[in-house]
Symmetry: C2
Subunit: 349 residues, 2 copies
């Protein structure tokens, strides 16, 4: 009832349309803010008749509760973050999608951060960590100490495709066995001299693929290359090494760290008159959409599932699960297409 002209300091501000708050609703409905709040949250401690009055007031004033006020009071953001290098490849998009899907189901919004080698990535991740209840971090985005700092602040973290860090869950896909199965398949084709394209230093995944690659070759008694052909993850990176490859004498196969590399390489080779798989076989990794159309032999990873798994792990932590960190490993699958050569059955060894 009291319309006591508020006389405190700090009145207007954004001059814009006044926001209707829970107190306005309370006044309008002739009840206290506590009752409005209870009605809002569906507490059963509100008399039906009162609830009706409150609902009417809410309707009439077109009131929408402020997420900020609510979050501050509840001390939770109801939001998760995810950090990835970029979204230009199809790879991360799938992971993000799986993550978003599960997070949304659990009632959490998703904040994304693409680091795309911004120099300020570290600070941006720390900032993001302050806006969420949990954070998923992809490999090769930020330094370990940044992740450690986030963990230290008490924000649950799940790592994806990245070496483990104390106190954080992780989700990875299997690489060593998969790489070995690629090599075995290529050996069955009769291929012997194999090169590996990619930089193991850049990523845990690549390092493991490289290790599996070497291991399988060694086990088969085949020639094991000393080192990889260094390259990034983009089509351009693949194209760039084509000349070097042809000049240095072609191997039988080039096993690439991902599909984009493989595809870029294949096109660049073709421009130099080198045919795939005729003159050299090529394999990729990820099984992106373009790989299907380019007939690229590759390894399929359950990317969507990886994102979904990460979201669920985070949810558990946020909900108070204090058990030992989990480290999930998802299985991968060899996908044979024509880029590794005609099928052994059809071609004499």
């Amino acid at each position: 009832m009291e319309d006591a002209e508020p006389k405190g300091p700090q009145r207007r501000r954004t001059a814009g349309r006044a926001n209707v708050t829970i107190r306005d609703v309370a006044r309008h409905a002739g009840v206290s803010v506590a009752t409005v709040s209870r009605a809002l949250r569906g507490s059963d401690l509100v008399h039906p008749a009162t609830r009706e009055r409150v609902d009417a007031a809410i309707e009439e004033l077109r009131f929408t509760p402020s997420q900020l006020g609510r979050s501050l009071a509840e001390r939770r953001h109801a939001a998760n973050g995810i950090v990835f290098p970029d979204l230009s490849g199809p790879f991360y998009a799938e992971v993000v999608l799986g993550y978003e899907e599960v997070a949304a189901t659990l009632g959490r919004s998703v904040l994304i951060l693409s680091t795309q080698n911004r120099e300020s990535a570290d600070e941006m991740v720390l900032d993001l960590a302050g806006r969420v209840d949990g954070l998923a971090v992809f490999g090769r985005t930020v330094h370990d100490d940044v992740v450690a700092e986030v963990v230290q602040r008490g924000v649950p973290v799940v790592l994806m495709a990245r070496t483990e860090i104390a106190g954080a869950d992780s989700v990875r896909t299997e690489n060593v066995v998969a790489a070995a199965s690629v090599v075995d398949h290529l050996l069955a084709h009769g291929h012997r001299r194999m090169a590996f394209l990619g930089d193991p230093v850049d990523s845990t995944d690549v390092a493991e693929r490289w290790a599996g690659f070497r291991g399988a070759l060694a086990q088969a008694g085949a020639e094991v290359p000393e080192r990889t052909i260094p390259a990034g993850f983009k089509e351009d990176d693949g194209a760039r090494v084509a000349a070097e490859l042809t000049a240095g004498g072609l191997p039988d196969v080039v096993v690439c760290a991902n599909d984009e590399l493989a595809l870029g390489l294949t096109v660049a080779l073709a421009e130099q008159g080198v045919q795939v798989p005729g003159d050299v076989a090529v394999t990729g990794w990820d099984d992106v959409m373009a790989a299907r159309y380019a007939g690229l032999t590759t390894v399929r990873q359950p990317m969507r599932e990886m994102g979904a798994r990460a979201a669920r792990l985070l949810d558990a932590r946020i909900s108070g699960d204090h058990s030992e960190p989990r480290h999930d490993v998802l299985t991968t699958q060899l996908v044979v297409r024509r880029s590794c050569g005609p099928h052994p059955k059809e071609a004499p060894r």
Copy 2:
């Protein structure tokens, strides 16, 4: 100084590690919260010596300001949202990336929401609107009245690839002229009987492409199909109509509403022994990565730029720009590859 034991109700809460607040820092540094706040925000009204003490306290207590408290006081989220149907195609991923890139540069986080025909999409969008300072909404995600509601609440909205709504900016790509240029190119190939694959009801973009398609055919005096062959936007949708097409007598060309449709169709046709472009030509739209490897003639859209543009428009509105809504149209570009047949020069008309 006064350590007055706080005796109010409501003490502990999440029992977890206590959060250090600005008041702790103030006490520790022997100054007031106002001074700490000023030091935090880099105000020049703080004596260097004082600032040093404050910084030391912050360091010592490992204090991190709460984004929530700050946002509530500043009445801004420092975050933008973006709503899209899904992220599985390469299309939206690019747009989101462009959006995120600009938003991050402007100091805003990005909240994503993928509606993927969830029945609760409307509420989710309204919820999202309460967590951001501005919202970008893609076509075919939520109903017009939901968007209107968001606008009405005072949250700036920019629409992407969607018909205009009062009070909201929009960014689209050019469709009519581009569709006409596709048709003209196909006519130059000697193709006459053309079909259009896609559902104009689903999307403004498709409707415009269909209109441009018909217009160009009519203008050339060629046969204008009565209706489109309805289809969604996925490879499956394209594959599904292959049988129907071959059964009904093949046209010279199938112009598809997007690349995924075109690619799915092409593969399904091949399985039925129908060759592209030998037996029928096919064109797509978007120029996704796979289109390059499949040799698909298509229309390239500046997807990244669309996202970036949307982020900038929003920033202007959030910063208080109250001018008339803007409606940007980005130009597109025909990309000719082999799926529309041998080049006219090489093939007699």
